[in-house]
C-alpha cells in the first residue's frame, strides 16, 4: 500500500462527477498547517471571485486539522468553509463530533467540493476513495431520520454529516450537522450543501492514522488529560456546560433580551434550571471536557447561545419551551444564533409598525412560544412569512432603511454571542473585526475580565493590560492575541474549550501545540511559526473578504444600537460604545496587524498569499 500523505485532499467535482487527489506542497502546508488555514487557502484558490454563493461556482470545503483524529485531547474537530450565502463574505464554521477523524481514518483529510450535482447525492468516503452516490431517498428527511436511514443502509458503524430540510430549502442560515448536537452552525453552509444537491457526507475508515511517536503521544495525552481535568473551568464545563455563563451575564445586566432592547431576563435559564432537564453529559471524539447535554425533552443541548437566542432574545421564559425550540432547530438544521436574532428582529419590527399582519399573517409578540415554533417550521419549509424571513440579512432594508439598525448583525451575519457587548469593550472590538461577521468564536477576548494578577496577564498578552473591562485601552492587544491563538487552534483541529486564552489561561498554548504536532506528525513548529500561521490565516480571510465584498474599515463596526442606546439595567447600566474611542481601538488593532488606516493588507502580504495560491 502506498504510504499515506500527511495531507490528502480530495477535489470532488459534482458536475462532472470526478474525484482527484491533491497534496499541498510543503511550503503551503507549513504556512497554513491544516483545518481552517488550509481551507482558506483552497477557498482563495478555487472560488470564482464574486460568484453567487448558491451557484455551482461556490466551493464547499470540509477540512481536518493537522491533529484531528490523533491522540491529542479534544482533537475531533474540522472546519466547513465556503462563501457564505448569508453574508456574502467568507463562510466558515468549526464542528466537532466524529466525522472528521473518521474521514482521516478513511485516508482523506479534506474534501473540496465543486460544482453541482444534477440530482440529490451523498459522498461515501472509504479506504482512500470518495464515491458520489445517489441520495434521492434521503432527500427531505430530518437530521435524525437521515442518520438512521443511512446507518440502516450502510451499517451502524458509519459516521454521517448532513443537512436537514432547512439546507435543502436553501434557508440562508441553514447549518451543517453531525448527530443531534454538533453543527458547523454559522454562515449558512447548509444552504451551500443544498444548492449543490449534496445531502450528506458518509465516512467509514478502517485505516490507522500513523503517529510519528506513538508512545510519546500516549504519555503526552495522559499528562495533558490530568492537567486539563484539574482545571476548574474544565470541571464546571463538564458538569453543567456553557449555561454556567448565563447567570454571570444576567447579573451584570448584559443578556441580550427582546432584540437587545433590554438586558436582564428571568432566572429560568440559569444552569441549575437547565440541569433539571439533563440526563447525561456526553462528549465528542477524544474529549476530556464532555460539555454536551443530553436533555430529557428529546435532543441535545442547549448551549448558552441557544438559551439566550431562542430564550430571552425572543422572550421565551420557560426552560422546557426553550429546550424544545433548541431541539426543533437542531433537527431541522438551522443556525440558532442567526435564527434567534432574525425572529427577535421581526418581532421588534412588528411592534414598531414597520411590518403588519399583512406581511406576517398574524401578530408577532415577544414570549409567544407557539407562534415562534410555527415560524421556525415555516422558515424551514419556506411557507408564508417564513419564506421571507428565510432570506435572513438580505432583507435588511426591505422594510425601510432604519430597520437595518435594529438588526444585531455585522457584515451581514447576526451576533452569535448572547452577551450584550456594550459593557465589555474588548468583546465589542472582537465581534466588530471578526472575519466572518458578528461572531464570538473568532476572538472572544474575555480573559481580562477575570481580574487576573498583572504578571499573569503580562505573560499571556506580552504587555500590561488594563484590567477594567469598560476601558478602551490596550484592548486591541487582547483581541489580536486571542484571535491569533484561536486561529491556530482551528488549524490544529483542537476544541477551543481547551485552548489557552479561552476562559482560562491554564489551557493548551503554543508550546503544547508544537509538542503535539511534533509527536503526531514529526513536523516542527516553533511558537513564532505558529503565531505567524495564525496571523497569515487572519490576513487570508481579510483578503478574501475584500475580494468578495470590498470589506474594509466601514464594515468593522457595530450595530447602531450598541453605539447610541445605553444599557438599561443592573450593573452595566448606562454602558454604551463611544464612537470616537471605538475608532481609536480600531486604529490600534489595524496597526497591530500591520494593516493601513482603512484596514487593508500591505501589498507585500497580498503578494505572498497570491504566490502561495499559485504554488499548490
Amino acid at each position: 500500500m502506498k504510504e499515506r500523505p500527511l495531507c490528502n485532499n480530495a477535489v470532488v467535482n459534482l458536475t462532472d462527477r470526478t474525484v482527484d487527489f491533491v497534496e499541498p506542497p510543503e511550503e503551503v502546508l507549513r504556512s497554513f498547517i491544516g483545518g481552517r488555514g488550509l481551507n482558506m487557502h483552497y477557498l482563495y484558490k478555487y472560488l470564482k471571485p464574486q460568484c453567487d454563493p448558491l451557484s455551482p461556482d461556490n466551493v464547499l470545503i470540509l477540512g481536518n486539522g493537522i491533529l484531528t483524529g490523533t491522540m491529542s485531547p479534544n482533537s475531533g474537530r474540522h472546519n466547513v468553509t465556503c462563501k457564505s450565502p448569508e453574508s456574502g463574505i467568507i463562510g466558515d464554521a468549526n464542528i466537532g463530533g466524529f466525522l472528521g477523524p473518521e474521514m482521516r481514518f478513511a485516508g482523506v483529510d479534506r474534501l473540496i467540493i465543486l460544482g453541482k450535482a444534477d440530482r440529490p447525492v451523498y459522498l461515501y468516503v472509504n479506504d482512500g476513495k470518495v464515491e458520489i452516490r445517489d441520495a434521492s431517498k434521503y432527500w427531505g428527511l430530518t437530521c435524525s431520520e437521515t442518520e438512521a436511514r443511512l446507518r440502516y443502509d450502510l451499517g451502524s458503524d458509519v459516521e454521517v454529516e448532513m443537512i436537514g430540510p432547512a439546507g435543502e430549502n436553501l434557508v440562508r442560515y441553514a447549518c451543517t450537522r453531525y448527530g443531534p448536537k454538533n453543527a458547523a452552525g454559522r454562515c449558512g453552509s447548509g444552504a451551500v450543501w443544498g444548492s449543490k444537491n449534496l445531502k450528506a457526507v458518509v465516512a467509514r475508515g478502517n485505516q490507522g492514522l500513523p503517529l510519528a511517536n506513538p508512545e510519546g503521544m500516549l504519555n503526552k495525552f495522559n499528562e495533558l488529560k490530568d492537567y486539563l481535568k484539574s482545571s476548574k473551568v474544565t470541571q464546571v464545563l463538564g458538569r453543567v456546560g456553557t449555561p454556567l455563563l448565563y447567570d454571570v451575564s444576567n447579573y451584570l445586566g448584559a443578556i441580550r433580551t427582546h432584540n437587545s432592547q433590554q438586558t436582564v431576563f428571568f432566572d429560568t435559564m440559569n444552569a441549575e434550571e437547565v440541569h433539571k432537564y439533563v440526563n447525561k453529559m456526553v462528549g465528542c471524539y477524544g474529549c476530556v471536557v464532555h460539555c454536551r447535554h443530553r436533555n430529557s425533552v428529546g435532543g441535545e443541548g442547549p448551549e448558552y447561545t441557544t438559551e439566550v437566542l431562542l430564550g430571552s432574545n425572543i422572550g421565551v421564559a420557560d426552560t422546557r419551551d426553550m429546550i424544545e425550540l433548541n431541539n426543533i432547530s437542531n433537527e431541522l438544521g438551522l443556525d440558532v444564533s442567526s435564527l434567534g436574532t432574525y425572529l427577535a428582529w421581526a418581532v421588534e419590527l412588528y411592534e414598531k409598525g414597520y411590518i403588519t399582519d399583512k406581511d406576517t399573517g398574524g401578530p408577532l409578540r415577544f414570549g409567544d412560544f407557539e407562534t415562534m415554533k410555527k415560524l421556525i417550521y415555516d422558515i424551514t419549509y419556506r411557507k408564508g412569512f417564513g419564506d421571507t424571513l428565510a432570506e435572513g440579512s438580505l432583507l435588511v432594508d426591505k422594510y425601510g432603511k432604519e430597520t437595518a439598525d435594529f438588526l444585531i448583525a455585522i457584515k451581514g451575519l447576526p451576533q452569535s454571542d448572547p452577551h450584550d457587548v456594550r459593557y465589555i469593550k474588548a468583546f465589542a472590538l472582537g465581534i466588530a473585526t471578526s472575519s466572518r461577521g458578528a461572531d464570538h468564536l473568532r476572538s472572544r477576548p474575555t480573559l481580562e475580565i477575570l481580574d487576573l494578577p498583572a504578571e499573569l496577564t503580562r505573560k499571556v498578552f506580552g504587555q500590561p493590560i488594563d484590567p477594567n473591562p469598560t476601558s478602551y485601552n490596550t484592548k486591541a492587544v487582547v483581541v489580536t492575541v486571542t484571535e491569533t491563538i484561536l486561529a491556530v487552534a482551528d488549524c490544529m483541529g483542537i476544541c477551543k474549550f481547551i485552548t489557552h486564552c479561552w476562559n482560562s489561561p491554564r489551557n493548551l498554548n503554543y508550546d503544547h501545540f508544537s509538542q503535539l504536532t511534533e509527536l503526531a506528525t514529526g513536523l516542527k513548529f516553533s511558537k513564532e511559526d505558529l503565531i505567524g500561521v495564525g496571523r497569515r490565516v487572519t490576513d487570508q480571510e481579510r483578503l478574501i473578504n475584500y475580494q468578495e465584498k470590498g470589506i474594509d474599515r466601514k464594515d468593522d463596526t457595530l450595530p447602531a444600537r450598541y453605539f447610541d442606546e445605553p444599557m438599561p439595567s443592573a450593573r452595566a447600566k448606562g454602558s454604551h460604545i463611544d464612537r470616537e474611542k471605538f475608532a481609536g481601538m480600531l486604529d490600534e488593532y489595524y496597526e497591530l496587524h500591520g494593516w493601513d488606516k482603512n484596514g487593508m493588507l500591505p501589498q507585500q502580504r497580498i503578494d505572498e498569499l497570491n504566490r502561495l495560491k499559485n504554488l499548490s
Binding site: G205, G238, Y285, H290
Partner: protein
C-alpha cells in the same frame, strides 16, 4: 481450575462516548490511531442515546479458544488471560462465537484483534489509564455487578 483475575470493567453511566479508550489501545498496540483498531468496541449512538463498551471478559471457558481452527487463541492457565497471535487467518469464527462482542476485526490486515490486558505494558491496561472520566476500571470483582446506564445528570 478457575483463576481469580483482575478484569477491565465498563461503567456505562460514566462513559461519554469519546472513544479515547479504544484509541489509546490502538496506539499502544499498533502505533496508529483509530478506535476501530482498538481492542475495545465502543458502542455509541447519540440519537438512540447510548454509549458503552464491549470488551473481552477472558472467560473461564472461552468460546473463542474452542472455535479457533488455527489454534492461535490461547488461555493462559496461570493468569487467565486469553491472547491471540499472528498466525490468525481472519476466518472470524471467534468473532462469531463471542457472546460479548469482545473480538474485533482488523479488516485491512485480515486479523482478529483482542484484548490482552496490556500484559506487557507497565502500569496496566492503557484504556483504563487514558479514560478521562473513570468509566473503565481494572479490578478484581467477587461477582459481576450490574452497572447502571444512568446515575444522574452528571458524570465525573
Amino acid at each position: 481450575m478457575i483463576v481469580k483475575q483482575k478484569q477491565v470493567y465498563c461503567r456505562p453511566a460514566l462513559c461519554i462516548g469519546c472513544r479515547i479508550c479504544a484509541n489509546a489501545c490502538a496506539v499502544a498496540h499498533g502505533g496508529t490511531t483509530n478506535p476501530r483498531l482498538g481492542r475495545i468496541n465502543v458502542r455509541v449512538n447519540a440519537f438512540q442515546r447510548y454509549e458503552f463498551q464491549e470488551l473481552c471478559r477472558h472467560c473461564e471457558d472461552a468460546p473463542c479458544v474452542d472455535a479457533c481452527m488455527v489454534g492461535c487463541l490461547e488461555k493462559n492457565e496461570e493468569t487467565g488471560v486469553v491472547t491471540n497471535d499472528d498466525r490468525c487467518v481472519g476466518c472470524w469464527m471467534c468473532v462469531m462465537v463471542c457472546p460479548f462482542g469482545g473480538m474485533k476485526r482488523d479488516v485491512l490486515n485480515n486479523m482478529a484483534i483482542k484484548c490482552d490486558q496490556c500484559k506487557d505494558i507497565e502500569g496496566g491496561p492503557v484504556c483504563v489509564q487514558a479514560c478521562p472520566t473513570g468509566a473503565l476500571v481494572f479490578e478484581e470483582r467477587e461477582d459481576s455487578v450490574e452497572e447502571p446506564f444512568f446515575t444522574g445528570p452528571t458524570v465525573a
